[in-house]
């Protein structure tokens, strides 16, 4: 598995996708901090926005808006490029077990998502410091990074349906459509009391400890687990059995 992971990292050498994804991860913190700063500076009233609010808002935008399509594109790139560049047939005749290929790619996807999550968190911190926002403390740093990482981990866990669609349809377009659809559902359901039943909004609420009391927390965990496991099992079963053309 270590060798497989090494080869997956090697495949990213000189790849523009890595830089593009970093640029994508920069969008949420930049928009949140800059827009908040401009808002404070242009309002005559003494509006005060604490640092905690910046982290919350950035995490919200990352998980519900930017994260799903951004990580969806990363997922599609990782899993579809073997089809697009016609390299899968080489890997499978080396031979490598199909499950190992999937697991090594998922491991890399996890590392990639966590890195982008840290980029978003780090940039929020940096821009917040530059903007001289108040209320930064060690406990806030620890709490916010924990919230970011938990949310990032949930987004990774919930990537299995996106992996499935990529592998079955072998194209970037359906994956992007699915990611945009998920984002729309997230936006539409965010103000609903039932959002604890939507896997992605539930993930955000669990990470930030903001679950509504409408349903027991177990329901949210169950929805997330079911979505992830069904996606994972379907992916493994399909990929192990599929003919490679």
């Amino acid at each position: 598995m270590v060798d497989l992971l090494y080869t997956e990292l090697l495949k990213l050498k000189r790849s523009k996708m890595f830089l593009l994804s970093i640029l994508g991860a920069v969008v949420a913190p930049f928009m949140v901090v800059v827009s908040t700063y401009i808002q404070i500076k242009t309002k005559e009233s003494a509006l005060s926005v604490p640092f905690a609010e910046l982290f919350y808002e950035t995490n919200l935008y990352v998980v519900l808006l930017i994260g799903v399509p951004l990580y969806g594109v990363v997922t599609a790139y990782l899993f579809n490029r073997e089809y697009a560049e016609d390299t899968l047939k080489n890997l499978l005749t080396i031979p490598v077990s199909r499950t190992s290929i999937l697991l090594s790619k998922m491991l890399l996807l996890f590392m990639w998502i966590m890195l982008l999550t840290l980029v978003a968190w780090g940039l929020t911190l940096l821009l917040g410091l530059l903007g001289q926002f108040q209320g930064l403390s060690t406990s806030l740093l620890v709490k916010s990074i924990k919230q970011f990482l938990i949310a990032g981990a949930f987004l990774f866990i919930l990537s299995t349906p996106i992996i499935l669609i990529t592998i079955v349809l072998k194209n970037y377009v359906p994956t992007i459509i699915l990611a945009i659809s998920i984002t729309l559902v997230n936006v539409m359901s965010f103000n609903s009391e039932h959002r604890g039943l939507i896997p992605w909004t539930a993930a955000f609420d669990i990470a930030n400890d903001t679950l509504f009391p409408t349903y027991p927390a177990e329901y949210s965990y169950l929805v997330i687990t079911a979505t992830s496991i069904i996606g994972f099992i379907a992916t493994i079963v399909y990929f192990r059995k599929a003919d490679i053309h």
Binding site: D3, L4, Y6, T7, L10, K11, K13, R14, S15, E85, D86, T87, L88, K89, N90, L91, L92, T93, I94, P95, V96, S97, K241, D243, I244, H245
Partner: protein
């Protein structure tokens, strides 16, 4: 001589179509086996089944005497292959592409990559990204990748496709060298008869999914038939005379006025005399031999290979 590949009733069905239909094939150790067929005949589907990329609908594959489906991992470790156009990570160099294979296969031999690149003549191109390689260079890199782990069997699917004449010649030289130097068994597919003829010891002819013939080239040359070729003004009348006057039924009409008679080879003078007596103008008489191309054309039921 031991058997390296043996397929039994190998069949692949897509919907209602049999892409590969009960193929029984035997490839012996140390030989170059040419797998010949027109485009869409079922060559690539067969090769994909041989390397485990697709599963047969029916039938068995034995490679190195073991069942492919139960010993796939062990068998594939002893095989190098190129299936259609080899795919590479175009953002990487040739060395980095081969490093991926070396890492996964656990090849620890120092200089294995450099040696293999030298074997295919790419030792001076190691800093160039594969995305900038020509098709011929990619084909050679594909062979290098297939050879990296010193396989005992090399499966090549149309390796000369898209190559220019010099590239084709180089590829042929490389394949012959591999057999001589590394004693590898080679299974090579092509839709070009002359390619197979210049390389292979044995040929399997596939058409519409069926293996029509499997024969050593030496035997094939022996069974090629001689015939009398007449170019006449009226082939219908000539054919009637052959049947009624000479009792000859072993003949074929090839195009306008061209008749090939496969018996009575010494009697061209007599046949000519009778044709002329019946007002048939004879433009040409020749004693000819079936070329391999004719043989294959007859076998696949007309048209040309390719």
């Amino acid at each position: 001589m031991s058997v390296i590949i043996k397929t039994t009733n190998l069949t692949k069905i897509y919907g209602n179509q049999k892409s590969v239909d009960h193929v029984n094939m035997t490839v012996n150790q140390g030989e170059i086996y040419g797998f010949l067929g027109r485009n869409g005949a079922g060559k690539t589907t067969t090769i994909r089944m041989l390397v485990g990329l697709i599963k047969p609908s029916h039938g068995q594959i034995e490679i190195f005497g073991e069942n492919l489906f139960t010993h796939q991992k062990e068998i594939l470790r002893r095989i190098g292959s190129i299936v259609e156009v080899p795919g590479f990570y175009e953002n990487l160099t040739s060395r980095e592409n081969l490093l991926i294979n070396a890492k996964i296969m656990g090849i620890h031999k120092k200089n294995a990559i450099e040696e293999t690149l030298e074997l295919v003549g790419l030792q001076d191109e190691t800093k160039k990204l594969v995305g900038k390689y020509s098709l011929g260079m990619k084909q050679r890199l594909g062979i290098a990748r297939a050879l990296l782990h010193y396989p005992e069997l090399l499966i090549l699917d149309e390796p000369t496709n898209g190559l220019d004449p010099i590239g084709i010649k180089e590829m042929r030289r490389l394949i012959k060298a591999l057999v001589q130097e590394r004693k590898i068994t080679i299974f090579i597919s092509s839709h070009i008869l002359s390619e197979i003829e210049q390389l292979a010891d044995c040929v399997g002819i596939i058409h519409e999914g069926k293996l029509l013939e499997e024969i050593a080239f030496d035997n094939l040359r022996k069974i090629n038939r001689k015939y009398l070729e007449f170019q006449v003004s009226n082939d219908n009348k000539a054919a009637m005379l052959l049947e009624n006057h000479f009792n000859i039924y072993d003949y074929e009409v090839h195009g306008e006025g061209n008749i090939r008679v496969y018996s009575h080879l010494g009697q061209q003078g007599h046949i000519n005399k009778v044709f002329v007596q019946h007002d048939i103008e004879v433009v040409k008489i020749a004693l000819s031999e079936d070329r391999l191309e004719d043989y294959f054309t007859k076998l696949v039921g007309g048209g040309h290979i390719g």
